[in-house]
């Protein structure tokens, strides 16, 4: 039976059919749906972990114990999990271990566009790249076989376009698997230097075997057509090549590390011009050139951003510049930047921070939107967890910033990698208030549960972290909970904590507006009381507009959070239908 699946759904299906027993992940676009799908399939112990390092270590332990196991993450997640990955490459596995990295060329929702195939090369493990959902399913199953045959973790690399595009997939059934026997083997699994030296030789020998395998694997294939152009491509680029150069011969690589040197040489020898078509880094191209083979590639194709068929048409068929944009003189269309939702609890926090004119080290999540106008209350945002640690550095470097600097971090992000930063603040006596924005979910990536929400991936009840108890245990003496939409309470608390000269934790607690089932009644502006001072517009709520010369609240968007009523100096905003007092 054929079903329409996204690449991520297909990976989950492939893992399930291949008998995966344990799967762990931390959410991250474009990888999140892999675990969300696995959670719906029977016989898989699927879980959210607090971060990618933990997820990969859980999957690793499961594999050592004899199960097939999978860990999934977005590309930057593998930076967090790089430590276990590079050493798991030395110890090898027992049951198959597949690590999925979902890269994001074009940065649809990421802070960089690193090319994670480099991790496979650095770790000396195989890298498998599917080019559609059918391959995503088939290659995942094959990656498990490969992992067990060569006793190595396997990196399955997708990109946003593979993970999030849907195409038809022939699905199968689950093959029953028994746990492989677990035997204690410290010389393999305890990676002290004496063992690691031996294991390194194993890794090098394994890489040679894998290079051999690359020549004969069904993951790589040659499609002979016209021999004037021969293209080497993998992943989504293969589909663009088929679209734009339907007559060209193609060496399609499903295994992009290690490369099949013999296959590449013989393919190149039989075509007039070799092109290597790959998004981001010249990962294949550099290696092909190092084999002494002349080829075209990044001399014409961009290193930045995502490809589409037009990219190839321009670079390879030389069709010239893209069609012109709107006619000169026509006004630019208004942009539609992502915004905090109506009723979002984060809005109150950033409005207060802006009013107090503070230096704000931020973090990653919906609340990063606090950097956008009209709130514009964020100074830095680097990577998950960096808010607290960066604030420590700032106040250590510049004492003028003491008393004016706060760190802002989401609940999921705090549990991901903020706890160690907070410990550092206590240990090294950094006088910074830390605002933990506890909206009871991982909102940014589509509302996943985490160790603070009291529910598991499957929605079952679980222990919910007590942030105040944790902060106290780490040594923070000043701890409090505030309502982020109660501006006066929030500002008073911030002022006190900023003046205290020691670390503090303020938990700003209110559930994400998209989670509350029963929003309060919408508010309305009383035109008789409104003086058009525009104060309410400065909170940046998409439900409030002044487009027609008067301020109005869209009842279809407003969820009655009341923040605007609180900032109105003329009491002009109240419940719709009720005259304001």
């Amino acid at each position: 039976m054929k079903v329409l699946l996204s690449g991520n759904e297909a990976i989950a299906r492939g893992a399930w059919e291949a008998g995966v027993g344990v799967a762990a992940a931390y959410p991250g676009t474009p990888s999140t749906e892999i675990l969300e799908t696995l959670a719906t399939l029977p016989e898989v112990r699927a879980q959210w972990s607090p971060n990618e390092k933990v997820a990969l270590e859980v999957a690793y332990g499961a594999a050592v114990a004899g199960s097939r196991a999978l860990a999934a993450m977005k590309h930057v997640g593998l930076n967090v999990a790089a430590d276990p990955l590079l050493s798991a490459a030395y110890t090898g596995v027992n049951g198959g271990l597949v690590v999925v990295t979902a890269d994001d060329p074009g940065m649809h929702s990421s802070q960089n566009e690193q090319d994670n195939r480099h991790y496979a090369r650095m770790a000396k493990i195989p890298c498998v790249e599917p080019s559609d959902s059918q391959e995503a399913k088939d290659f995942t199953a094959l990656a498990f076989d490969l992992s067990e045959e060569f006793d190595t973790p396997v990196l399955l690399r997708t990109t946003t376009r593979i993970s999030h595009s849907k195409s038809l997939v022939e699905v199968g059934e689950r093959t029953a698997r028994f746990l492989k026997e677990y035997a204690k083997e410290p010389s393999k699994y305890v990676i002290i230097p004496a063992h690691a030296r031996v294991r390194h030789s194993v890794v090098e020998a394994r890489l040679l075997d894998l290079a051999d395998y690359a020549e004969r694997t069904p993951l790589n294939r040659v499609e002979w057509r016209d021999k004037r152009i021969g293209v080497i491509a993998s992943g989504i680029s293969y589909q663009y090549v088929r679209e734009v150069l339907p007559e060209a011969s193609v060496l399609k690589l499903g295994l992009t590390f290690p490369l099949p040197a013999g296959l590449i040489a013989s393919f190149a020898a039989q075509v007039e011009t070799v092109w290597v078509v790959e998004e981001l880094e010249p990962f294949i191209e550099d290696q092909v050139k190092a084999m002494g083979i002349r080829c075209r590639g990044k001399d014409a194709l961009p290193r930045e951003g995502e490809f589409n068929p037009d990219t190839l048409r321009r670079a390879i068929l030389d069709t010239g510049a893209p069609p012109a944009g709107p006619a000169p003189g026509s006004p630019a269309l208004p942009v539609r930047p992502p915004v905090l939702c109506p009723g979002c609890p984060h809005r109150g926090v950033f409005y207060a921070l802006k009013q107090l004119n503070l230096t704000v080290t931020g973090d990653i999540g919906c609340y990063t939107l606090g950097v956008m106008p009209p709130l514009e209350a964020m100074d830095t945002c680097l990577c998950m967890g960096a808010s607290i640690s960066a604030a420590i550095g700032m106040v250590k470097a510049n004492s003028d910033l003491i008393g004016h600097t706060v760190a802002v971090i989401g609940d999921s992000t705090f549990l991901h990698s903020g706890m160690t930063g907070l410990l550092d603040a206590v240990y090294n006596k950094a006088p910074i208030p830390v605002l933990i924005l506890d909206n009871r979910t991982t909102a940014m990536t589509g509302h996943q549960d985490h160790p603070g929400t009291g529910r598991t991936l499957q929605g079952e009840p679980a222990a919910a972290l007590d942030y105040l108890a944790l902060a106290k245990a780490l040594g923070v003496k000043r701890v409090s909970v505030v309502d982020p939409l109660n501006l006066e309470q929030l500002k008073a608390r911030l002022r006190e904590d900023l003046a205290a000269g020691e670390p503090a934790v303020i938990v700003a607690r209110r559930p994400c507006a998209l989670l509350s089932r029963k929003p309060a009644a919408p508010l309305a502006v009383d035109p008789a009381a409104c003086r058009m001072c525009r104060s309410c517009l400065r909170i940046g709520c998409p439900a409030i507009s002044a487009a027609g010369g008067t301020v109005a609240i869209d009842p279809g968007l407003c969820n009655g959070c009341g923040l605007c009523a609180g900032v109105c100096k003329f009491n002009a905003i109240g419940k719709a239908g009720e005259a304001s007092a």
């Binding site: 054929k2 329409l4 676009t29 474009p30 649809h108 929702s109 559609d132 946003t160 376009r161 999030h164 595009s165 849907k166 195409s167 038809l168 989504i236 589909q239 663009y240 088929r242 679209e243 589409n308 068929p309 037009d310 048409r313 893209p322 069609p323 944009g325 709107p326 006004p331 630019a332 269309l333 208004p334 942009v335 539609r336 930047p337 992502p338 915004v339 905090l340 939702c341 919906c366 939107l369 106008p373 009209p374 589509g446 517009l537 940046g540 998409p542 409030i544 507009s545 002044a546 487009a547």
Partner: protein, 201 residues
Amino acid sequence: MPEKTTNLLLAGVGGQGTILASKIICAALQEAGHDVKQAEVHGMAQRGGSVVTQIRFGNQVHSPLFGRGEAQVLVAFERLEGLRYLPMLAPGGTVILNDQAILPVPVIMGAQAYPEDAVLRLKEEAGDLLVVQAKEIAAELGNPKAANTVLVGALAGWMARTATNRLTQAHWLSALATQIPEKHRQVNERAFLAGWEVGRR
């Protein structure tokens, strides 16, 4: 001679239900025996940004993406988004427009102006423009949220009238049945049929 691949573009604003609409469309295409690929951009879209979905169907589809000037049909869930993605439309292509404006924040803040002549410009540049009062139609049927299904109906009706493909109304209704949960099905079926009538004109 392989059948040419057909390209559809759905453009709207986060929260308008473009993703469910594209699921229904893909299911109907699959019912009718087409190869289908669909690409969408997730992530920040949820927070009120533009949401764009590309659907391609035919005998065998390779790339899930197509380029500028290649969409045979643009289904615009909102006027400004219709205008924004107009360059994706193939020469002589059709625009199916939900006659609704959702103001982006820069407009709300008074920093930029909403293009008041959007419908006019779409009319000038599209080969054919079909304006649908999807929100009003859906509201009359009892659920303004079903505006997306009205638009799917309009697309379906338009395709039945003009295009050479294998889709019948039965394919669409069975797609609705698989994609929409029982309790919302009735109103969505009515929304679809109301849209279908507009599309058939």
